[in-house]
């Protein structure tokens, strides 16, 4: 926004990820019995990281564009690896999203009572990785953080999860590891193929020296490696199972994790291999369209509320991938905005279903719930608002994201847009069905009327998320202005290739 300037001699971006790494050490040193202390340390640092992200977000000058707050340190110069950080209009909303989700996720983690220390350490490590990915400008560093974000998921789900947690954890990890393997191949191709022997993304993007044919071979790998994490068809099945099995804060973060995938697709694959992108993006469009319709349709057939949200994530991430595939200025803007909106919305969904309902009722099966509106009207309203955002109701963040995506996709693939748009009524159908079954249907189990009251942590967390959904919905310019300048270089890169190809 460029509202104020921050001191230039302070490494703000390093501070952001360090603010998640430091409490890992602190919590590790806190004695086992002091559970409350660990929670407070975790939450306070989470909010610190949010504040830092917000500072950077507000201080970024869109007028100057490009990467700002750049930090550069030689790390392994012999190999062309450096510690290089920087943010632009694409990464800033993502950092902010991560800050929001970890802060609210920390609040939603208050009820974790077994192995508290391990839980917080892993959760914060995961977040460190996510922050790191979004600020890295060096492919190698990017990858290191990426792995750091992915690996703790296995233990978090395996230990604190529910519903087939071992299977879910294993499946998620295997998928993501397979994705990583593909990413490594793509990275090495860039490293060697470009002849530059560097992992510096800015250098790689400025001189696309990788031959077009080579790009066409390696783009699918790099893209697919990340797309697995974004839940692209047919590599999406980890996502619903993983989301369902994970404990609440991790489900909330799984939503952010999927953004790592689409962010990687955009930042690494499409930016650094534009010629490959031009060849392969139509194929991606086809797969992403399947995501959109397929995910929405399957969500209708689910009985577990978390599965509904899991598959709705598949559908919504499909819209992101579809927009990436369209690759126009508007489409990419919509994609980034949808990444943000979907992240917040999913976090809200999971805090209602995973934390507020499941932790009390110990079931998420629609046929067993019902009438919860009488007990928790707040949760009902939160769920409905999240649902409305997901079906693109004006006044909420999701509307703008979906509208801009359809604008962008129409420019490139009108027919695809027509089919994809039909997923919106389907989304409406499964969300409203869930609302009815969980909150308004008759009470099937009288025990449910005796559920305990919501805690202040739950109220605070959900309120923050809802306010953000509404805020962005009412005044999207707060994000769109930034995103607009952020995606411009990538569009220029893609268009440059298109023009050269003619």
């Amino acid at each position: 926004m460029g509202l104020f300037t921050l001191a230039t001699d302070i490494p703000w971006l390093s501070l952001i990820w360090l603010s998640m790494a430091v409490p890992v050490v602190i919590i590790a040193l806190i004695p086992h019995q002091q559970k409350e202390a660990m929670r407070w340390v975790g939450a306070v640092f989470a909010f610190t990281s949010l504040v830092l992200s917000l500072l950077v977000f507000l201080a970024y000058e869109p007028g100057r564009a490009g990467f700002q707050f750049v930090e550069r340190l030689a790390w392994m110069p012999q190999l062309g690896i450096s510690y290089q950080l920087g943010v632009d209009g694409i990464s800033l909303p993502m950092i902010l999203l991560n800050g929001i989700v970890i802060s609210t996720g920390a609040l939603m983690s208050w009820n974790i009572d077994t192995r508290v220390k391990e839980y917080w350490v892993l959760l914060l490590l995961l977040t460190t990785g996510v922050y790191g990915v979004f600020v890295s400008l060096d492919l190698f560093l990017f990858f290191v953080f990426y792995e750091l974000a992915v690996l703790p998921m296995y233990l978090l789900i395996g230990i604190w999860g529910s519903t087939r947690k071992e299977y879910g954890a294993m499946k998620l990890t295997l998928f993501l590891m397979a994705g990583s393997a593909l990413v490594i191949i793509g990275m090495l191709a860039l490293y060697f193929g470009s002849g530059l022997r560097t992992f510096d993304m800015i250098v790689l993007a400025e001189n696309v020296t990788l031959a077009g044919d080579v790009q066409r071979i390696f783009f699918p790998m790099l893209f697919l490696g990340f797309a697995v994490l974004a839940g692209m068809f047919p590599f999406h099945t980890w996502s619903p199972t993983g989301h369902v099995a994970a404990p609440t804060a991790v489900s909330m973060h799984a939503g952010v994790l999927m953004k790592l995938g689409s962010y990687g697709c955009l930042r690494a694959a499409m930016w650094l291999m534009p010629a490959g992108a031009n060849t392969w993006l139509p194929v991606v469009a086809g797969l992403a369209l399947l995501n959109v319709v397929y995910g929405a349709t399957i969500a209708m057939a689910q009985r577990d509320a978390k599965y509904i949200i899991g598959y709705s994530s598949v559908s919504h991430m499909g819209l992101v991938m579809l927009a990436l595939a369209a690759g126009t200025q508007l489409a990419l803007m919509g994609a980034v905005l949808q990444m943000f909106a979907h992240g917040v919305m999913t976090a809200l969904f999971f805090s209602v279903v995973g934390r507020m309902i499941y932790e009390r009722a110990h079931t998420r099966q629609l046929p067993e719930l019902g009438g919860l509106y009488k007990v928790m009207p707040f949760a009902t309203i939160m769920f409905i608002i999240a649902g409305l955002s997901s079906m693109g109701m004006p006044g909420l963040a999701g509307f703008w994201a979906e509208f801009i995506i359809f604008l962008g996709v129409w420019e490139r693939y009108p027919l695809v847009a027509v089919i994809a748009v039909l997923s919106i009524p389907i989304t409406g159908a499964y969300i409203l069905r869930a609302v009815w079954a969980v909150f308004f249907d008759e009470v099937k189990n009288p025990e449910l009327l005796k559920l305990s009251k919501l805690t202040w942590q739950e109220y605070t967390g959900a309120t923050i998320l809802v306010l953000i959904l509404i805020g962005v919905g009412l005044y999207p310019a707060i994000l769109t202005e930034l995103i607009d300048v952020g995606v411009r270089p990538i569009v220029a890169q893609l268009e440059g290739i298109t023009l050269a190809g003619r």
Binding site: A181, I298, L388, V421, L432, W436, F440
Partner: protein, 752 residues
């Protein structure tokens, strides 16, 4: 006058304020306080809207904060006409909107290189619509104060209808299609919330979901229309300046350029936008939601599903009319066809219904069909005129039916039923077979309802006659014989089914002592008792004077709005008399359009139709229904046809069996595919990799590692290692699987 123009934005802001006040402040604790707050604010908004209409009718306009006077009455048309002929070879002149009276814009959302400006745009059609919406909405707010008094959530009801009204007003005033669409969606949301307001009833909630989803199908296609338009025009703002969507050069361009599918851009955009109308105004084939929406409380049916929201679709059509006109006539032909078909289709269904609200609902469908059809044949003014007139008399009829149902629910048999099953009691109370003779029991309701009935049937000199006559005259004059014939038949049926209803409700003997009791297929046990304990005290007092008739009371709070609306139903025609007298052609002049010519022939035909319908209905039902259990005379004469009509041509069943089932099956099939096939492949890959890992291990262990000299040690070691391999630790498996995956990937990439 400048005041009304300058502060036009207050018109939607006031109801919104009302909604906010009674949602977030302690006002919500009190039903009466929240009711009167919103009514007061609505009244204020009504004053502003009427003032705005008066100001714009006198030609005042605001330009850069200065009050100026516009030329009225078609003088501005000459130059618009001149521009138009350059791009349009058609015989009729291009349609042009009157100059706007107020335009206020501010930057909202920058997208790409451009930015969306949002704001308000008021011209005379908008001003007229605003006045109509505020007046009906204020009446309905007032009515709800009495009608909803027994509902525990009355203040929430007020907050919803105020929010709805704000959205409708904002939609009318929107300066661009995106804001229009946003307000449109918020209306859809309110409609959903209000249909499902009595959410304890599964029928109500199901109807709410159905309404939301079905209209959403139209909405998303409309959204695509906007997207299409935006990619062509680079803007969605109303106006004729370059870069705005009614710019003549732009319209000429999209009318002549052909898109990939063989239609011109204008046709494509217009048809997609029309999908929005089909959904919102419940035209065939998306009409199925509106009759079910009658599950909502009656004031909701009156406000949203008769007067305002459903006519928003027609308003959309009127608003974007230049785009429809820009193509070669394909889009308008489709519009006319759908409209005329719906008009007749719905009218036939209405003939065979027993539920008083459903008859009115099908009548609404049919009347909306009239409006859509006439806009489709170019009768812009007639369509808008009928929209305004219909809103008043249909709201009146719905509120009247609400008053009747309210009275019926207090009759002893139904009050008894109410204690057992609330839903069945209400359905029984809405059945016109159980009524009769209410003329003397509810005189105010009878007289106001009669005015509404005469207006709807098209009897001179009530509002509906003039507007319907103008529609028929347009069809007649333009030589659209098919449309004319279809609409004429529909008009005959309208008079017929309204007479049937009116006769059965108000005349004859009261049949409610032995009613046809609605059988609720999903009655719940135990649940209703707790939920309406509060009803008991207010109905309890009726029971001891069961047969004295003393329970037929009419609430003054409910009568006042009826009287106001009835006066509009009676006199609304005066706003656009088709004669060249002072005050004649007022709407035409106001909207800067050609005055409609009055044809004695058409007026005669239309009167003949109306009286024919009334006479047929009166004679057929004069002796029918001595008791509630009797069969309908039509049912006796043609049981097959009557059954088909009674079951609404089974469209719902058809959709259920085709689209809904198809989607459900698809969902199940894909869910199975996901679980069985995709996961199966994944699990299979996992197993194969594990197997390959073991195989590698064996090869490694036996062939490469162990020499013959260490067979014994080797065996032991194999055992140990094998045991270690199968530790059950997931981390170990990951390593194997990961290794396998990399190998497979490499093989796949380099060898294949």
């Amino acid at each position: 006058m400048a005041f009304f123009l300058q502060y036009a934005w207050l018109i939607p802001a006031l109801p919104l304020l009302g909604c906010v006040l009674i949602t977030f402040t302690p006002l919500r604790q009190s039903k009466v306080a929240s009711g009167w707050t919103t009514i007061g604010l609505m009244a204020l908004a009504t004053l502003l809207a009427v003032g705005l209409l008066a100001a714009s009718a006198q030609g005042f306009a605001l330009r850069d904060g200065q009050l100026v006077t516009l030329e009225l009455a078609g003088h501005g048309e000459a130059d618009a006409h001149g521009e138009a002929t350059t791009h349009s070879e058609k015989s009729k002149e291009a349609f042009a909107f009157p100059e706007p009276n107020v335009v206020q814009r501010f930057v909202w959302a920058p997208t790409g290189t451009t930015s969306f400006a949002m704001g308000i745009y008021v011209d005379t059609p908008v001003a007229a619509l605003l006045a109509m919406v505020t007046i009906t909405s204020a009446c309905i707010h007032l009515f709800s104060l009495g009608y909803m008094a027994s509902n525990a959530r009355q203040s929430r009801f007020f907050s919803f209808i105020s929010l709805f009204t704000a959205a409708m007003l904002l939609m009318a005033m929107a300066d661009n299609l995106l804001l229009f669409f946003m307000a449109w969606e918020v209306m859809g949301l309110c409609s959903y919330l209000l249909i499902g307001f009595l959410y304890e009833r599964p029928q109500a909630y199901r109807a709410a979901i159905k309404a939301f989803i079905v209209t959403r199908i139209g909405d998303v296609l409309m959204l695509l229309g906007l997207v299409y338009l935006y990619t062509q025009a680079g803007s969605l703002a109303f106006g004729t300046a370059p870069g705005e969507i009614f710019n003549p050069e732009f319209l000429a361009r999209i009318g002549s350029e052909t898109s990939a599918v063989g239609l011109s851009h204008a046709t494509g955009i217009a048809l997609l936008i029309f999908c929005g109308t089909v959904g919102k105004s419940a035209q065939f084939p998306l009409h199925v939601w509106l009759p079910d929406a009658m599950e909502g409380p009656t004031p909701v049916s009156a406000l949203i599903h008769a007067a305002t929201m459903v006519s928003a679709g027609v308003f959309l059509l009127a608003r974007t009319f230049p785009i429809f006109e820009a193509d070669n006539g394909t889009a308008l032909a489709v519009v006319a066809f759908i409209g005329a078909f719906t008009a007749l289709f719905a009218a036939t269904i209405a003939v065979a219904q027993y539920d008083i609200k459903r008859i009115l609902a099908y009548s609404t469908l049919s009347q909306l069909g009239f409006m859509v059809a006439v806009i489709g044949i170019g009768g812009w003014v007639a369509g808008m005129f009928h929209l305004l007139a219909h809103a008043f008399f249909k709201a009146l009829l719905f509120l009247g039916s609400g008053s009747i149902i309210h009275g019926m629910e207090a009759t002893p048999r139904i009050a008894d039923l109410h204690h057992k099953d609330e839903y069945a009691a209400q359905q029984t109370a809405q059945d016109i077979r159980n009524m009769g003779g209410l003329r003397t029991r509810m005189p105010w309701t009878f007289w106001t309802y009669t005015l509404g009935f005469l207006a709807l049937a098209g009897v001179v000199p009530f509002a509906g006659f003039w507007s319907k006559d103008e529609i028929l005259a347009d069809a007649f004059k333009g030589g659209h014989w098919v449309v004319f014939t279809v609409l004429a038949v529909a008009a005959f049926l309208t008079a017929f089914y309204m007479t049937r209803q009116w006769r059965l409700v108000f005349f004859g003997a009261f049949r409610g002592e032995q009613p046809v009791v609605y059988v609720n297929p999903e009655r719940r046990s135990g649940h209703h008792k707790a939920s309406h304990a509060h009803h008991d005290d207010e109905h309890g007092h009726n029971e001891h004077h069961a047969n004295t008739g003393a329970h037929w009371h009419e609430d003054p709070l409910m009568i006042a709005p009826l009287v106001i609306l009835a006066s509009f139903a009676a006199l609304g025609g005066l706003f656009n008399l088709p004669f060249s007298i002072p005050g004649g052609h007022w709407l035409n002049d106001l909207w800067g359009q050609e005055p409609a010519s009055f044809s004695l022939l058409v007026a005669g035909i239309s009167l003949l139709i109306a009286f024919g319908g009334i006479a047929a209905g009166w004679t057929l039902y004069g002796t029918a229904f001595k008791t509630a259990q009797e069969r309908d005379p039509l049912d006796v004469r043609a049981p097959g046809v009557f059954g088909l009509l009674n079951e609404k041509y089974r469209v719902d069943e058809f959709y259920q069996a085709s689209i809904v089932r198809f989607t459900a099956l698809l969902a199940l099939a894909w869910a199975w595919l996901d679980k069985a096939i995709l996961d199966g492949i994944i699990n299979g890959i996992g197993r194969v990799t594990l197997f390959v890992g073991r195989l590698n291990f064996i090869v490694d262990d036996t062939v490469l590692n162990d020499g013959p000299d260490a067979v014994a040690d080797g065996t032991v070691a194999t055992g140990k290692r094998a045991r270690r391999l199968q530790t059950g630790k997931a981390q170990d498996y990951i390593v194997y699987v990961f290794g396998g995956a990399v190998i497979l990937a490499l093989v796949y990439l380099y060898v294949l």
